[in-house]
């Protein structure tokens, strides 16, 4: 197991962007918004899973922008069935290839089966199918594109929407601060199923994402990778900041990058000096309505969660810039 994934990546001396694979498996011409963080993630995950893979995809942004008749942006064999059953379809694909291989009806090895779905299709409506597929132990990988709301239908909240975020169904108002619940911890749910590999990933840390996906597809049994996808349209952020924001999410501990291998936690991207969450929140229009009270709560909760995570990872707590942030200071 150690020869794959992040451990493998440490065997390399040079990480040069230009040395990554050139062949596109999620081609240009798809209709995502300008600056779509999810499209960027899909582009690289498709390269990482390799040519010998099939994809089952949920209804959502990526499915819609890429598969309007008569054109498709996918180079992989790809199937879309419905919103909430992607994990079940993927499980069926895996079982189908298994029996065909056993009966000698498959030419070559069974392809890698990769299920993909948004946060809506994964943590809400698709949770049952995901749980079933993970519990049955199918040899497949589930990748969640987390853009933190039901973006395709017009930015409605999901259980992955962060606390305080504005969405059309969790709008701030006289009686509301926006989303009133904390983001559902999908990684913990996946880990609770006892599967061999779970990880978080971000397109802002491409090598980390690339090697994690490789590790996920090579791991026998179920694997779950949760990818943070910045959505400028839904987050009300400038289109050019989609990678910057994803990086800030990790630098503020809002979205730490770690993996769980057979139940053992390991931080894969260490942040030696944490930034205050305000640096992350202030760049997004969806948090514009938050007052100090909510931001302080988010800050404390984020740090508390991070501390718990670090304990599991047996990593030291990093240096943290004090809560009060100077007003008007330029954010890098």
């Amino acid at each position: 197991m150690e020869k794959f994934g992040y451990a493998q990546s440490t065997k390399f001396d040079t990480f040069a962007s230009r040395l990554l694979p050139r062949e596109e498996y999620f081609v240009g011409g798809h209709r995502s918004c300008q600056g779509c963080g999810e499209a960027l993630a899909v582009r690289w995950v498709c390269k990482a899973i390799g040519k010998d893979a099939v994809i089952a995809h949920a209804t959502g942004c990526m499915e819609i922008v890429s598969s309007g008749m008569p054109q498709t942006a996918w180079m992989h064999p790809w199937i879309h069935v419905a919103f909430e059953n992607t994990a079940a379809v993927a499980a069926g694909l895996e079982a189908g290839y298994k029996i065909l291989a056993r009966k000698g009806k498959l030419e070559g090895k069974p392809p890698k089966v990769v299920a993909m779905g948004g946060d809506g299709g994964t943590s809400d409506i698709g949770l049952q199918a995901l749980s079933g597929a993970l519990e049955r132990g199918h040899n497949f990988t589930y990748v969640c594109w987390d853009n933190e709301a039901y973006m395709n239908t017009g930015i409605q909240r999901s259980s992955s929407t962060p606390y305080g975020a504005m969405t059309t169904t969790s709008p701030p108002g006289k009686l509301s601060i926006g989303q009133s619940t904390w983001k559902k911890n999908m990684v913990a749910i996946a880990v609770a199923h006892g599967i061999p590999y779970v990880a978080t990933a971000s397109p802002a840390y491409l090598f980390d994402l690339y090697f994690k996906i490789r590790k996920a597809v090579e791991t026998p049994g179920p694997a779950y990778v949760h990818v943070l996808c910045v959505c400028p349209t839904g987050w009300r952020s400038p289109t050019e900041l989609s990678v910057r924001l994803a990086r800030l999410a990790t630098e503020t501990a809002v979205f730490p990058l770690y993996e769980v291998v057979n139940g053992h936690y390991r931080l894969t991207v260490e942040v030696p000096k944490l930034r205050p969450v305000r640096d992350y929140l202030r760049l997004q229009g969806r948090f514009r309505h938050l007052r100090d009270k909510e931001i302080d709560f988010i800050q404390r909760q984020t740090l508390a969660n991070y501390e718990l995570l670090l304990k599991k990872c047996q990593a030291p707590f990093p240096e943290f810039v004090p809560l009060a942030h100077e007003e008007g200071k330029e954010v890098e």
Binding site: S17, R22, V27, S32, Q34, G35, A39, P70
Partner: protein, 96 residues
């Protein structure tokens, strides 16, 4: 080449509505969406390829001389300019 929808008869549709040409989205001209596009100052470019990796569209391609330039899939989001390591990319408004 995929046939325009309005001209496709029911008999011409593949069974189950299956699309048999992978990557046919390449035919779609998203280039008309952009209101700005990236321009590289080659003297400051170190050919690192970060811009190419951070483009959600695959809208940047390596040129024969090893430098990178946009192609027609660029939607003008500006991520490449923001992420460029040396800051050699500038977003310039589209002419017209």
């Amino acid at each position: 080449m995929t046939k325009p929808l309005e001209q496709t008869t029911w008999q011409e549709i593949e069974i189950g509505g299956i699309l048999t040409e992978p990557g046919s989205a390449r035919e779609y001209d998203v280039g008309t969406w952009r209101s700005q596009h990236p321009v590289w100052t080659k003297s400051r470019c170190i050919k690192c390829g970060v811009c190419w990796t951070t483009c959600p569209e695959g809208g940047i391609s390596e040129q024969p001389d090893g430098y990178f330039d946009m192609n027609n899939y660029c939607k003008g989001c500006g991520i490449c300019a923001k992420e460029c390591v040396t800051g050699c990319i500038t977003m310039v408004p589209e002419e017209e």
